[in-house]
Amino acid sequence: MITEIIFAIGFIIFAPFIGALIGGIDRKVTARMQGRVGPPVLQPLYDVFKLFEKEKAVVRNEVNFYIFSYLIFVVFTGALFFSGSDILLVIFALTLAHVFLILGAYAAVSPYSHIGAERELLQLMAVEPMLILAATGFYMATGSFAVKDIALWPEPIFMTIPLIFVGIVYVLTIKLRKSPFDLATSHHAHQELVKGLTTEFAGPTLGMVEIAHLYETVFFLGIVWLFFASMPWVGLLVVIIVYFIEILVDNTTTRVRWQVMLRSAWLVALVAGAVNLGVLALM
């Protein structure tokens, strides 16, 4: 019990800094790929601190409530995950967090943020089947839904559910808001209808969205790591390779239409999930 609480608190304290470091390296590598020098590695932290120095300008007060709930539930999701709790609960908490984000964007009355909110809903729809199938895959591989049991499983789960891993990496691009699936909002300038989902969020409100994104990055890379939990260092290497591929894809592809995103994500979920789980069920 105590180790679980320590892990949860550790996540809550350190995840934003790790996330910011990952984000900073991401921006540096992106800049190098484009032949630029790039910002300092700690730039994401500077951005967040700066946003909290700005004026609290908000369209409606509900927006702040929704966005704060989004942040809280993202932190809750990650804390549940890293304390080894039930993976289904983790996935549902994550969905709830994103529902709050979408409500926040809808509450800010603006056509741009409405389009962003609708696209975020589509992204959620695209990702959800794969996450549920991944949870099922973890269960079929280890006989438990608890992240703790999955992490302590003696052999790498990747060997049992490799196709599910591929599917998770595919939807990771959507979740990390990377091109070609950065439909709702993007970190790249001038790719979005103004700024999509976050158009109407200013100052501290945007800061909360950014912090939530830092937590989310660490959480999703945690899921990638879970496939190799029995070999922690190999897992770390895989996480680094996967994230590098994400950056590469981000820099070499253009955004697709939402139809392509939704269909391809569901197709990958269906093929990867059904084939992998079907084989497991037959064995």
């Binding site: 800049a31 790039g38 609290k56």
Partner: protein, 148 residues
């Protein structure tokens, strides 16, 4: 310790300029000048921006847009008028529809002269704007502290 000078986000608006200065502004973001070195990002969204880069002498139709954009930016914020048209109206000064400078519509903090303004002088202008931005932030924090 202030972070606003480490991550100033820009919004760029063309208030009826000939597009010469706009090309130079965007040139600052290219690999050669790479403004992102200083954490500067071109957001294209007034609600996220700290620095308002504006080119051209502002005409009757863009006046309302400039005002609206300026008012949507959360404090602290600075305005940088880029090019001679943004400063005084330039060669368009006598036109019937030209306001004759950005400062006729919104308060301007830094003027960057030139036709077109060179990327080096634009970067110089933005950097001196950061000093003013920091002053404004300090003033705002002081005011906020008094309120509490």
């Amino acid at each position: 310790m202030s972070y606003i000078t480490k991550s100033p986000w820009i919004i760029h608006y063309d208030g009826s300029s000939c597009n010469g200065c706009d090309i130079e502004v965007l040139a600052c973001l290219t690999p050669l000048y790479d403004l992102e070195r200083f954490g500067i990002v071109n957001t294209g969204n007034p609600k996220h921006a700290d620095v308002f880069l504006i080119t051209g002498g502002i005409n009757e139709q863009s006046r309302a847009v400039v005002k609206n954009t300026y008012e949507q930016m959360p404090d602290p914020k600075v305005v940088v008028a880029i090019g001679i048209c943004a400063a005084t109206g330039g060669v368009f000064r006598e036109c019937y529809n030209i306001m004759g400078g950005v400062d006729k519509v919104i308060p301007v903090d830094v003027y960057v002269p030139g036709c077109a303004a060179r990327p080096e002088s634009i970067i110089d202008g933005v950097v001196s704007a950061l000093g003013i931005l920091e002053e404004k932030r300090a003033k705002m924090a002081e005011k906020g502290g008094k309120k509490q």
